[in-house]
C-alpha cells in the first residue's frame, strides 16, 4: 500500500531573473512500513524535498499525496491538523520546548486532540519504555543529554500514532553511540509497529539502517538502493560505494 506519492515535484527559489531550481521534477513513492533514507551532498535538495513532502513547504510544481490526499488542496488550518494527526517529525536540533518537561514535550501533539488521558498515558508508557527514557520524564530539556533529547523528540513524533514519520538529520548533532542507539530504536519501531519512516541524512551509517536509500544530486534522483536481505554492514559498504561514484566530496560535512 502506497503511503506517499510525489509526482514531478519542482521547487524554485528566487525571482524569475535569479531563479534557482532546487528540485527538478522528482517522482517518489513510499509504501507502508518502509524506512526510506534520502542522501546526497550539500545543496542537493534533501531537506527541501523533505519539507515539500511533509507539507511544511509548498512545491512550485507537482503533486504530493499522502494517504491519497492531495496536499495542495488543503488550507493552512487543514494542513496543520493533518500534520498533527498523520505525521511525526524528528529534527536535527531536537526542537524541544525548553519550558516543558520531557513528558509534556512528548504529549505536546495531543494537546488539542480529544484523546482520553488514559489512552495517551498508555501510549506514552509504551513509547518511553521502547526508547529507554522512562526515568527522565519529569526533567527539563536542559537537564538531559543530546541523545535523550533526540529520543524524546522521537517519542513526540510517535505519540499521535502517525502514518508517516519524517526525520531531518536526526543524528546530525549526536555522538556515534547515541546515534546508533537512536537508529536502532527507530528501526525497531519501524519493524514492530510498521511505522513508515522517511529520513534525510548525510551519514552513511545512519542510512544503512534504512530499507531503501535514495540518492539526490542537483535536485534530481540519481539512484536508489534497496537493502533487501543484505546485512547492515553489507548495505553500508554499498552506500559508501555509491557515494564515491556520486563524486564530489561525497561525504559532505
Amino acid at each position: 500500500m502506497t503511503v506517499l506519492v510525489g509526482r514531478k515535484i519542482k521547487k524554485t527559489y528566487g525571482k524569475k531573473s535569479t531563479a534557482q531550481e532546487v528540485l527538478k521534477g522528482i517522482d517518489i513513492e513510499v509504501n507502508k512500513g518502509e524506512f526510506v533514507g534520502i542522501m546526497g551532498p550539500s545543496g542537493s535538495g534533501k531537506t527541501t524535498l523533505l519539507n515539500v513532502l511533509c507539507s511544511i513547504d509548498h512545491p512550485t510544481e507537482g503533486v504530493v499525496e499522502i494517504n491519497g490526499k492531495n496536499l495542495r488542496n488543503m488550507k493552512e488550518k487543514q494542513l496543520a491538523n493533518f500534520r498533527r494527526e498523520q505525521l511525526g517529525f524528528v529534527f536535527q536540533d531536537y526542537n524541544l520546548l525548553d519550558t516543558l518537561t520531557v513528558k509534556e514535550n512528548i504529549l505536546l501533539p495531543l494537546s488539542i486532540s480529544k484523546l482520553p488521558r488514559a489512552v495517551a498515558e498508555s501510549r506514552l508508557k509504551e513509547l518511553v519504555k521502547l526508547l529507554g527514557i522512562t526515568d527522565i520524564l519529569n526533567k527539563y530539556p536542559n537537564e538531559i543529554s543530546g541523545g535523550q533529547k533526540q529520543r524524546t523528540s522521537a517519542a513526540r513524533a510517535l505519540i499521535s500514532s502517525p502514518t508517516l514519520v519524517f526525520a531531518d538529520e536526526p543524528t546530525g548533532a549526536l555522538d556515534s553511540k547515541s546515534a546508533t542507539s537512536l537508529l536502532t530504536n527507530l528501526e525497531n519501531i519501524n519493524k514492530q509497529k510498521s511505522v513508515t519512516i522517511m529520513m534525510v541524512t548525510h551519514d552513511s551509517v545512519a542510512a544503512s539502517f534504512c530499507s531503501r536509500v535514495l540518492f539526490l544530486k542537483d535536485g534530481a534522483i540519481y539512484t536508489e538502493l534497496y537493502r533487501g536481505d543484505k546485512t547492515r554492514q553489507q548495505f553500508f559498504q554499498q552506500i559508501l560505494n555509491t557515494q564515491s561514484i556520486l563524486g564530489g566530496d561525497g561525504y559532505d560535512a
Binding site: 493552512e76 498533527r84 520546548l97 525548553d98
Partner: protein, 656 residues
C-alpha cells in the same frame, strides 16, 4: 564598507525594527515640548495668572515629566542594547575595537535621536494648541488660543534633550565596555529562569506576598481610624501601607504567580493543553526576569490612576464645593450691599431670598467625638461655631423639629464627617459672653445655608428660637457676623446681569468685623475659583498620567516584543508539528491577558484602595470620577495590549 555606510545600513534596519522605540521617542518629545510651549503660551499664562499655584504646578509637572521620560528612554535604550548584543558581539568578533563600535552606535543613536527630537518638536508645537484648548475648556473659560512659538520653551527643550542624549550615549558606552564578548552572546538569555521544581520557600513567599497586599489594603481602610490601628503616626501608617503593598506586589509576581501556576500545572500531570503550553509555561519560565518590571508597571499604574482619580474627584466636586461655600447664588452679610436687591428689582430679575440671623458661640466638640486618640489630628477641639434659629432653618428644611435644649448640627460633611464623626444623642456645652448652655445633639445634617465667609467651613448649630434669643443678645455687627441674606435667582439666564450688578456694588458689600475686612463671593465667582485651581490640576495630572501610561504600556510592549522574538523557535517547532496559527494565537491571547491584565487589575485595585482611604479630603463624590478615570485608562492601556498581540501574530505567521 565604510563606517558611514555601515551606520546607514544598520539604521535603516533598526528604524524598521525598533519603530516603536522611535515612535515612543517622538511621542515623548512631543509631550514634553508641547507641555513647555503651553507653559510659555501668553494666553495660557494670562488665564492662569489668577491662581498662583498653577504656575508652580506647571513647573513641577515639567520636572516630573522630564523625569518620567528620561527613565523611559533609558529603559528602552537598555532593552534595545540588550537585543542588539549579538550584533555588537559580531562586530567584536570580526575584529572591531570597542571604541569603534561605540562610535558606530553613537553615530546611529545621534542621528536617530536628532531626527526624533526634530519631528517631535514640530508635532509638539502644533499639538500644544490642542492641549491649550483642552486646558481652557477645563477651566470653562472662553478664550481663543493662538499658536505662538516660544524661544524660551525651545531652548529649554533642546537643552533637556541634549542632556538626555548625553545620558543615553553614556549608558550605551558603558554597556558596550562593560560586557565581554562571551556575555554579549548570552545577554538575551540571562534573565530567564532555569525552571526548578516546586519548593517550600517559593510557597511561603508566594503566600506572604498575597498576605502583604491584603494587609496593606486593610490598613488603608482604617487610615483615619486611629482606634483600630497600631500606628498612631499617620505618616508612619502611610509608609507601612505603601511598603506592604509594594513588597506584596513584588512577591506576588515573583513567587505567588509561579506558585499558583505550579499547582495548576502539577494537576495536569503532563497533559497540557496548547493554551497552557503557550501561556502558563512561558509565563512561569520568565517570571523571575519579569517580576521587577511587572511590579514597576503595577505600581506606576496604581499611582497614575490614583493621582488622576483624586484630581478628577477634586475637579468633579468643584461645583458642590462652591455650593457649600456659597450656598446661595448671592450672599449679603450684615446688611452690607442690601441695595443689590433693589437693583435686581429694577432690572426685572426674579429672585427668592432667605434671611438668617446669626450668632457666634464657642464649643468644644471633644464632648461629641468621644476619644480622639489620633495624635496627628492635633487641631484644637475648641472652636467657634455659628448658630441660627430653628425658624430660620425651616426656610431650607421646612419640616425640621427640635425641642427646647435640643440642637441640630448641620453643614457637617466631607472631610470632617469622615475623620471626626459626631455622635448623635450626645450632650455638649457652648459658651457665649461668659455664659454657658448645655444642649443635646439631636441629629447631624449635611445641608448648607450660611456663606463660607461667615462660617469658615465650620459646621452650623441650629437651636430653638428661645435659645437663639439668649445667645444673640449683646452681639453686634461690629464684633461678629449677625445677619445674612441669601439670594437665589429664579432664571439662570439672568446670571450674567446679576453678576454684573453684584460686582458693581462690590464696595458697598465689603464689611469689617473685628477689624478684618471681608467680601463675600457669589456662587459663580466661587465656582470659577475652584475650577481654575482644579482644572489646572487635573490638566497637569492627566498629562503626567498620559506619560505614565506611555511608559508602562511601552515597557510591556517592548518586553513582549523581545519575548516573542525569543520564542520564535518554539513557534516554528509547534507549527511544524501541526499547530495552526489560530491554535497558537489562543495561547497568545491568554498570555497577553496575563501580562497586561494582571498588572492592570492589581494596579487598579491599589489605586481603588488608595483613593478610598482619603478621597474625602479632595472632594465630595468618589464613585463617578474614579470609574471614569479607570475606564479611560483601561481603554488607552488596551491599545498597547492589542498592538502587542498583533506583533505576536506577525511573528507566528512568519515562523514557518
Amino acid at each position: 564598507m565604510t563606517l558611514s555606510r555601515l551606520v546607514l545600513r544598520s539604521m535603516r534596519k533598526n528604524v524598521k525594527h525598533y519603530y516603536l522605540y522611535f515612535f515612543a521617542l517622538i511621542f515623548s518629545v512631543t509631550l514634553c515640548y508641547s507641555f513647555t510651549t503651553l507653559h510659555h503660551n501668553p494666553t495660557v499664562v494670562e488665564a492662569l495668572k489668577e491662581s498662583g499655584t498653577a504656575a508652580a504646578g506647571f513647573q513641577s509637572a515639567t520636572f516630573v515629566l522630564y523625569f518620567i521620560i528620561t527613565f523611559f528612554v533609558l529603559y528602552a535604550n537598555h532593552l534595545f542594547m540588550k537585543r542588539r548584543s549579538k550584533e555588537i558581539g559580531l562586530y567584536q568578533l570580526i575584529g572591531m575595537t570597542k571604541g569603534l563600535i561605540v562610535r558606530l552606535i553613537a553615530l546611529e543613536n545621534i542621528i536617530l535621536f536628532i531626527f526624533a527630537v526634530a519631528l517631535g518638536m514640530v508635532i509638539g508645537f502644533f499639538s500644544s494648541r490642542l492641549f491649550a484648548m483642552i486646558l481652557i475648556k477645563l477651566l470653562k473659560l472662553d478664550l481663543v488660543i493662538e499658536l505662538v512659538f516660544s524661544p524660551k520653551a525651545f531652548t529649554q527643550s533642546v537643552i533637556i534633550f541634549s542632556i538626555l542624549l548625553l545620558v543615553i550615549l553614556f549608558q550605551m558606552t558603558w554597556m558596550v565596555y562593560r560586557v565581554t564578548l562571551l556575555s554579549l552572546f548570552h545577554a538575551s538569555k540571562k534573565a530567564d529562569e532555569r525552571i526548578k521544581r516546586f519548593n517550600f520557600f517559593q510557597m511561603t513567599f508566594g503566600l506572604l506576598g498575597l498576605l502583604l497586599i491584603v494587609y496593606g489594603y486593610y490598613e488603608s481602610s482604617i487610615l483615619f481610624d486611629a482606634e483600630k490601628s497600631l500606628f498612631k503616626d499617620i505618616f508612619l501608617h502611610m509608609l507601612v501601607i505603601l511598603a506592604s503593598t509594594i513588597l506584596g506586589t513584588f512577591l506576588f509576581f515573583r513567587y505567588s504567580v509561579s506558585f499558583i501556576m505550579n499547582i495548576f500545572r502539577a494537576s495536569k500531570k503532563g497533559h497540557l493543553k496548547i493554551r497552557d503550553v503557550m501561556a502558563v509555561t512561558q509565563i512561569m519560565h520568565r517570571m523571575k526576569g519579569n517580576a521587577k518590571s511587572l511590579t514597576l508597571i503595577t505600581v506606576l499604574t496604581g499611582l497614575a490612576v490614583g493621582i488622576m482619580s483624586l484630581s478628577y474627584i477634586s475637579y468633579y466636586s468643584s461645583e458642590t464645593r462652591a455650593r457649600q461655600f456659597s450656598p446661595y447664588d448671592y450672599t449679603l452679610v450684615n446688611d452690607k450691599g442690601i441695595s443689590f436687591l433693589d437693583r435686581l428689582h429694577q432690572e426685572g430679575i426674579e429672585f427668592k431670598k432667605d434671611t438668617y440671623r446669626v450668632a457666634e458661640v464657642t464649643f468644644n466638640f471633644q464632648d461629641l467625638v468621644g476619644d480622639i486618640t489620633n495624635e496627628n489630628l492635633t487641631f484644637s477641639t475648641e472652636s467657634s461655631m455659628y448658630v441660627i434659629s430653628l425658624s430660620d432653618y425651616k426656610q431650607v428644611v421646612p419640616d425640621a423639629q427640635i425641642n427646647e435644649g435640643e440642637t441640630i448640627i448641620t453643614s457637617y460633611q466631607n472631610m470632617f464627617s469622615e475623620v471626626v464623626p459626631l455622635e448623635e444623642g450626645g450632650d455638649f456645652s457652648v459658651q457665649y459672653h461668659n455664659e454657658e448652655a448645655k444642649f443635646v445633639l439631636k441629629e447631624v445634617q449635611e445641608k448648607f445655608m450660611l456663606s463660607g465667609t461667615i462660617t469658615m467651613a465650620s459646621p452650623v448649630l441650629v437651636v430653638t428660637d428661645t435659645a437663639f434669643e439668649n445667645i444673640s443678645a449683646n452681639q453686634t455687627s461690629e464684633s461678629s457676623f449677625n445677619y445674612q441674606v441669601g439670594v437665589n435667582l429664579v432664571n439662570s439666564e439672568d446670571i450674567p446681569k446679576a453678576e454684573e450688578i453684584y460686582t458693581d456694588i462690590q464696595e458697598e458689600r465689603k464689611l469689617v468685623v473685628n477689624g478684618q475686612e471681608y467680601l463675600p463671593l457669589s456662587y459663580e465667582e466661587e465656582k470659577q475659583g475652584y475650577l481654575s485651581i482644579y482644572g489646572t490640576t487635573i490638566f497637569i495630572t492627566a498629562f503626567l498620567g498620559l506619560a505614565f501610561l506611555l511608559t508602562t504600556g511601552s515597557i510591556l510592549y517592548f518586553k513582549q516584543m523581545s519575548e516573542a522574538e525569543m520564542e520564535k523557535e518554539s513557534y516554528t517547532t509547534l507549527r511544524k508539528i501541526g499547530f495552526s496559527t489560530s491554535d497558537l494565537m489562543r495561547g497568545i491571547y491568554a498570555k497577553q491577558a496575563f501580562n497586561f491584565g494582571v498588572p492592570l487589575v492589581i494596579g487598579l485595585l491599589h489605586s481603588y484602595f488608595a483613593v478610598k482611604s482619603g478621597w474625602f479630603l479632595f472632594g465630595t463624590e468618589m464613585f463617578t470620577p474614579l470609574v471614569v478615570t479607570m475606564v479611560l485608562y483601561v481603554v488607552m492601556y488596551a491599545i498597547f495590549a492589542v498592538i502587542s498581540t498583533q506583533y505576536y501574530k506577525r511573528i507566528i505567521k512568519a515562523s514557518l
